[in-house]
Symmetry: C2
Subunit: 229 residues, 2 copies
């Protein structure tokens, strides 16, 4: 069994219930090889931690960026919590050293390991939530996940809704979306645009914003939601 | 402007910041007709409230049902927070009387109104979260959303993963999934099964459980996630 006190020291986080910490790292494959283990695997903790992570990131973005639309914040959040990003974060904090995997699974690297690392960091957040509450999770998430936001923005790691909607529309309907201003009002320094996004003549969604670009992005975001793409 | 104190009385919830309560009900169409409104629309609040709702429901299910797998809890959660269910809940608590919509939008009923009601209840939760915190939201969600769980379970309003995966597999790949026991162990009173779900010869995912049915459901749930269906 691994020495999790090393991880606690590294993360400067002490667990009251050490079993919760250990269980976060139990992959289902480990149970297959260790059927008498007193722990179950970490998937329920992952279920919980995923929702904690979602709220912590959502609240941070909501409060930090009062001018950004829901569509933009959704793009940023997706870039922060996708499997690739979470697995990179998990590796940075040495989660690879603490995973409890079967021998066979230990040999797999690449995408399978990426999913395991991402799921484990969510399970860890689930355990931390149960052991220490939301505040402790917000602190961990701020220091390890939100900390990636500047890089996400600078390197444009987020998929903006317009490019994503165009890709999906071409893939699923063979049509390139078009945008049209439906309404605009206000003085030059405080304009307001309502823009519709169309697939040929079908108005898929409307978006708004204080610039045409913002309104188009908002419309695309609504369109993705409306189409379920 | 509507009298929101009536709603506060009905929900037995007093807002410190009345503007937050009002803003939760501002649909984007209302802004189109009222461009000088001091409020923006409710979509950012919906973004926040959606994440609060997710955590509250997730945590409740996680703690109340320690024996249920992540896949089962995911199905139940989906049935509680989908647009149809949320709109029914919103109607029960008279949200229709408080929506701020354009004249044109007010005439729309049916699916469009369903989405508006569902989004508004999420925006309301976002406002409640900012105004009164997580505890107040958990109370509201317990009394109005979780309260639907017995009906969800009894009337099987949840889509179990097996039937959903079969539907998707037939739709997207023209194949009916098959299940095979990969591993089993343990005495009769404490069996453990590992089952693989296959599309022809492709092993899509593995699930586990204390019965074959549970393990198949778990495998199907993992398969849906793995395929992105």
């Amino acid at each position: 069994m691994k020495d999790f006190s090393r991880l606690e020291k590294k993360l400067k986080t002490k667990f009251k219930n050490k079993d919760l910490l250990t269980q976060a790292f139990v992959h289902r494959s480990y149970l297959n090889e260790n059927p008498d283990l007193k722990f179950s695997h970490n998937e329920r903790l992952e279920f919980l931690g995923d929702a904690v992570l979602e709220l912590a990131v959502t609240e941070y973005l909501f409060k930090k960026y009062p001018e950004k639309t829901e569509g933009e914040l959704t793009s940023w959040r997706a870039a922060l919590v996708n499997a690739k990003m979470l697995s990179e974060i998990a590796q940075k904090i040495d989660f690879n050293d603490f995973l409890l995997l079967s021998r066979g699974e230990s040999k797999e690297t690449g995408k399978a390991r990426q999913f395991i690392l991402a799921n484990t960091i969510e399970a860890f957040i689930g355990s931390l939530y149960l052991d220490r509450g939301l505040d402790a999770c917000e602190k961990f998430i701020k220091n390890n996940v939100i900390s990636e936001l500047p890089r996400v923005i600078e390197e444009r790691l987020f998929r903006d809704a317009k490019s994503l909607f165009q890709e999906k529309a071409q893939e699923k309907a063979g049509i390139t979306p078009s945008y049209k201003v439906l309404k605009e009002w206000g003085p030059d320094h405080q304009k307001h645009f309502v823009i519709g996004v169309f697939l040929k003549t079908e108005l898929v969604a409307e978006g708004d914003g204080s610039s045409k670009q913002e309104a188009e992005e908002d419309a695309a975001s609504k369109a993705l939601e409306s189409k379920g793409w």
